[in-house]
Amino acid sequence: MSGRFAAAGKVAIAGYAHSIIERHAARPLGALAVETAREAIADAGITVGDVDGVVAAALFPTSGAHAAEDGVATVTANWMAEHLACLGARPEHVSGFQGIGQMPGAVAIAVNAIAAGAADYVLLFRALHNPPGSYHGNPMRQVAGPQQWTAPAGFFGPLAMIALPYNEYLQRYGATREEMAAVVVEARKNGARLPWSYWRKRPLTSEDYLAAPMLADPVGRYDCDIPVDGVAAFILTSADRARDLPNKPVYVAGYASGRQPRARLPLHWPLDDIMAAGTQLAAGLWKHTGIGPGEVDLPQVYDGFSPFVWFWLEVLGLCPPGEAHRFVAAGGIDSDDPAALPALSSGGALGNGRMHGVPQMLECYLQLAGRAGPRQRARATVGVACQSSPHYGGAVMYTAEPA
């Protein structure tokens, strides 16, 4: 990609739906997904028969031995397309995003398909599942392939993965878990205000954060998003079509993804890898869109693990490297302070449950469309929705007006 994004402002979000987020839904995930999809279709002011594109990312991010049964533990684009077809949809473009940074990756596929004319109305959705039993527990006693270099020492699963760069950051910059409490408290404050959130009406105090059990130092219980059952769906279409639909369109200005700078051991994420690739990702996003960090009034950073908030704030250039811990602790992302950057106003994954990049994308949509209800911000013109680690994930920029 050498120049500006050719499809900037040409594709828009026209509607959405979000299921209630629960630890274990009473309904099968596939049923919840179809119902949420139909609600999103109705919200956008179109019919099931209009949907000719279906896009999803279907990763079931467990380290455990759970089967990823389609329609039960995950829902793929193909599964959804089949079930919408029998309701009258005519999906011609059906794609799944395979990488990490599932929402930005899926949005990119949908935008490309619409801009190319491969689909007119794309249903984009994400269905997350919390299986019975331990989410990451794995009974394996023998390990082959890349994990033989790490698992025999006990380095396994995402907690150990994030603990190493988290501690590297704490040690390098003199940051503390007391400062991290401000991240988690902010996410839970905002999540507590969302009627669909698992943590609705349940904010968290710094004291409770610090008193929770440690899992993999310095990672404690509330540094991790809680696994849930939940589905979100969005309708994307061309900007021209979106302007004829009932909701105010929110435009896609561009996107960028991170690429780790070098091969590493499985789950080995050195801090310098994260920051180098993330800085490159952000530079690509600004160049791609022609919009710089100073114009972003709705940065939505990813927080599946709390240290990602610090990492994203720094790679996006919203505070200097090594300063995010102080920036957040000083109220820099307080959504109730009009002078602060509302970086977790979505509640994030920490404040909603493990919905991956859904909260960030949804907050960009709701605020820029003027649909955030009592949470509506006075100024919301440019949003950036981030997901995953900066060196694996991605970011999408949304604008209230076409570019």
């Binding site: 394996m140 025999p152 006990g154 150990a160 190493l164 091969a263």
Partner: protein
């Protein structure tokens, strides 16, 4: 228990002798962990890795104390160190620090390779897993 393959067998064989051996790409001469089918440094699809015995010396770049294991057979807590080996800048591996979970580890602390002998469940053959201990002068 690791299941060695063609690329990793010399690593585990050396560990069995309590030696830390790391593969070097014969094309770009870089040490690599882990050895991919193509060299992760130069991209050669015919890297013809040759294992070399390391000094075992390195410095701690990060660490964590695991208090909840997702794998069977691990007694918690235990401490894992992210170590940059002395032989090449950026050459990092992860292992247990055998000094215990309360060891006074710091960023930049010097460590040396050590080995943890693990008995196999159903045979007399065990395996040694590379690990680290704090170097006495650090």
């Amino acid at each position: 228990m690791p299941v060695p393959d063609e690329l990793s067998a010399p690593y585990w064989a050396a560990a069995g002798r309590h030696e830390l051996a790391i593969p070097r790409c014969s094309r770009c001469r870089s040490l690599v962990i882990p050895p991919g089918q193509a060299c992760p440094h130069c991209g050669s699809t015919n890297p013809e890795y040759a294992y070399e015995t390391m000094s075992g010396q390195g410095i701690v770049r990060s660490w964590t104390v695991i208090r909840q294991s997702f794998l069977p057979g691990f007694d918690v807590p235990f401490l894992l160190v992210d170590v940059e080996l002395a032989e090449q800048p950026g050459l990092r591996m992860i292992g247990r620090l055998l000094d215990g979970p309360d060891a006074p580890v710091t960023l930049g602390a010097r460590v040396k390779a050590a080995f943890e002998d693990i008995a196999a469940e159903d045979s007399a053959d065990g395996v040694a897993v590379p690990a680290f201990t704090l170097a006495s002068d650090s």
